[in-house]
Assembly symmetry: C2
Homo-oligomer: 130 residues x 2
Amino acid sequence: MDLREQLRAAKLKVTSGRLSVLRELGRAKGPMSHAEVAERLEGESLDKVTVWRILVALTEVGLVDRSNGGDGTWRFELRSGSLGHDPHPHFTCLVCKTVTCLPHDSVRIPPRIVRGVVDVQITGRCEKCG
Amino acid sequence: MDLREQLRAAKLKVTSGRLSVLRELGRAKGPMSHAEVAERLEGESLDKVTVWRILVALTEVGLVDRSNGGDGTWRFELRSGSLGHDPHPHFTCLVCKTVTCLPHDSVRIPPRIVRGVVDVQITGRCEKCG
DNA sequence: GGTGTGCATGCAATTGGATTGCGTTGTTTC
DNA sequence: GAAACAACGCAATCCAATTGCATGCACACC
Ligand SMILES: [Mn+2]
Ligand SMILES: [Mn+2]
Ligand SMILES: [Zn+2]
Ligand SMILES: [Zn+2]
């Protein structure tokens, strides 16, 4: 299923802006902040606010995952589909600000304690900044 | 060790503002946002910005833990000492915004993957909001 | 118990990410 | 093609977090 079909399946209109954002997220190896996405799309005469609204809209229909790193900014990444990943934990280094995707089963949470987990976010220092 | 001694041991001057903030955090059952702390201290003619700087100062010397809930605001709670707790994971319900402290060992992270963990933050839906 | 030094505070102003309002543009449906 | 309505551009706003600076207070030293 290509990007246009995914948008149509989500009942979102197919626009050049949405396709650009989806393509950009597809290239990323980890979650991107709104600022990062907007910066890479500077050449496309796409307003920053529009990029934000696109990211929110894609999140609401489930095409994108939004997570909150320890630094207080939202980060977005493609979900499911050919290019995307399924939800998984993230690790943010407080020193170098690097965000790392962790394997889905790298964090174990006893189901008795928490139900309906949406996001797992770990902060600390990476090996380089140890 | 009472609050004054803890401040002195941390090489911070003992002020009425810092004592108030520490006392307020001691009463809390979970991490409090800056806004919550400031609101409860309204009667004490203590400036909001000062409350913020106190929270940051206490965090820097290790008397307080600062964590970032899934909603993008910082939350603070007493660390160690008689009234405080040791660092532990937190669960934030995205619907009712409730923050729950989890037992220290409720989340297991294989040490090979991540070093120097500072904070573990889980977001989702609590049992009530299931 | 006074006094000086430097940290702490109050207040005003600023930052920066997130959010909204509204008129215009563009996509989809018929 | 035209009508209906979602998406967009642009300006403005919100609010937690942050900073600057003049004043006030804690505490070490006398
Ligand atoms: Mn990821
Ligand atoms: Mn806690
Ligand atoms: Zn690092
Ligand atoms: Zn809830």
